[in-house]
Amino acid sequence: MSNMNQAMVEKYRNDFLKEVKANVEEGDWVQMCMQCGVCSGSCPFGPYWDHPPQELFMMIRAGKREEVLSSNSMWMCTSCYNCIARCPRELPITHIMHGLAHYADRLGLAPKEQPTRKFANRFWDNLVKKGRVNELKLGVSLYFMNGFIEGIKTAMAAAPLGMGMMKAKRLSPMEYFGGHGVKDSKGLDAILKKARQIEDEKIAKYNS
């Protein structure tokens, strides 16, 4: 039996579905999909998905682990909730997409250069620093997330917008040096740390 054939045979085991059910946020719901496709048709970024949600669910059932987890697709979710609102089977698709993206990222399988992956991570990093988002720092880190030269270009292109925002007092350069934050950042840190710890304990050892 060729490797290829062996792979095809192996993938139709249900293992990946079980992995998703165990480890992905709201992953239990994947099995409830009936392949109507209303989610795929409802997505505002639909045309940019290599594999729309309903197809991802089928791929999960078909055990296409690599293809799913390294996919660019779920990073296309804009969190518009159209899919959830319309899904006839009550699947929390937005959350499953977020869950898959997060899981893929944790496993290191998500595409490294995926811009939303980078942005989303920076957003998180930004907010946990002080407990509140620092829009300026987030913006700056965003501009430079593709490297220094790219960042300068992006920043230059966005400069008029930044200036406009500052003029409208909706962006302050002072934010870069301090800005808003929670007072009890120690408590918040402890909470997040604990939460992360609980979650880590739950993750099965599928990361191979």
Partner: protein, 299 residues
């Protein structure tokens, strides 16, 4: 009507010098007229919005909102939590529903909160400001305070996503919610009937990471408003507001359009109609000046 008090969750973008600070200004003015007292949740934190997932994952993300709820329960027991930001409202409300729906999750969340000395029961209603206006006041009541009807302005009610789905405003449909139109009418302005992009997505947070794809969506939203004869767009969501207002230059450059469509918050319309000044209505925070509103406010 007597004073109404709510436990208030302003959210990051409403802070001073943040992207929706003008929203907050107008909300304050509006509340002043309606005799609403907003009690800010002490030491609230970011909800992580809908983009925090990549770094945050499930439980840490829920813990963020749970912490806010816990703080609110402590400080403002018996009050509903009110948010003005769609993402804040959604993240908090989702957290509440998940915690109530899933005992194990509630337990884990409290385990995490305990590390910060907190405990959550998720016993307060989580409401968007628009819900408060419609349900606790009603259009008739809101209309009573109008001093300067917004006559002669045609406004497209852009509801967007997260104030609309998955929860939405009671009695409204996901596909064609009419509350902004009704509000616009209440204030004396003219709504754009059948504004067909009223619930289309603006790209949300992906406006940053996928600007071209998002701006294509935003272009349709603005174009459709122009098609409907709108002179202005009104929205209940800071992300919608920023995305639709801020990228018009980029869109004009790319698509050779000549968009210059003011995008305001419902609270700004209300503040002006209630007789507040342009500054009180946060109109100085517009990137694209809402001239017609300024004119009315200036009268």
């Amino acid at each position: 009507m007597s004073k109404k008090e709510y436990s208030f969750y302003p959210g990051c973008s409403s802070q001073k010098a943040a992207s929706a600070s003008n929203y907050q200004t107008s909300v304050n003015s509006m509340c002043d007229v309606l005799d609403i007292q907003l009690n800010e949740i002490p030491d609230w934190n970011c909800c992580s919005a809908s983009i925090g997932y990549a770094g945050g994952g499930e439980l840490p993300r829920l813990a963020l909102s749970a912490r806010n709820m816990a703080l609110s329960e402590q400080a403002h027991a018996g009050q509903d939590i009110v948010a003005t930001c769609a993402a804040c409202w959604l993240a908090t409300r989702e957290t509440k529903e998940r915690l109530l729906h899933d005992e194990a999750l509630m337990k884990e969340t409290n385990e995490a909160l305990a590390a910060g000395g907190l405990k959550v029961e998720a016993n307060q209603d989580i409401r968007h400001m628009v819900e408060v206006l419609i349900e606790d006041f009603g259009y008739d009541e809101l209309g009573k305070h109008v001093q300067k009807p917004l006559e002669g302005i045609k406004i497209a009610g852009y509801v967007g996503c997260q104030t609309n789905r998955p929860f939405g405003i009671a009695g409204e449909s996901f596909e064609n919610p009419k509350y902004l139109d009704k509000l616009v009418e209440t204030l004396g302005a003219e709504p754009v009937e059948n504004y067909d992009k009223k619930v289309s997505c603006c790209g949300g947070a992906l406006a940053f990471s996928e600007p071209e794809k998002s701006q294509a969506l935003i272009k349709d939203i603005i174009e459709s408003a122009y098609d409907g004869g709108a002179e202005m767009i009104v929205t209940p969501c800071p992300v919608c507001q920023l995305n639709v207002e801020a990228y018009q230059d980029n869109i004009n450059a790319k698509y050779k359009t000549k968009f210059s469509m003011p995008v305001v918050y419902y609270s700004q319309l209300m503040s002006v109609a209630y007789g507040k000044s342009g500054k009180e209505a946060g109109l100085d925070g517009q990137l694209i000046a809402a001239k017609k509103l300024e004119d009315i406010a200036g009268k």
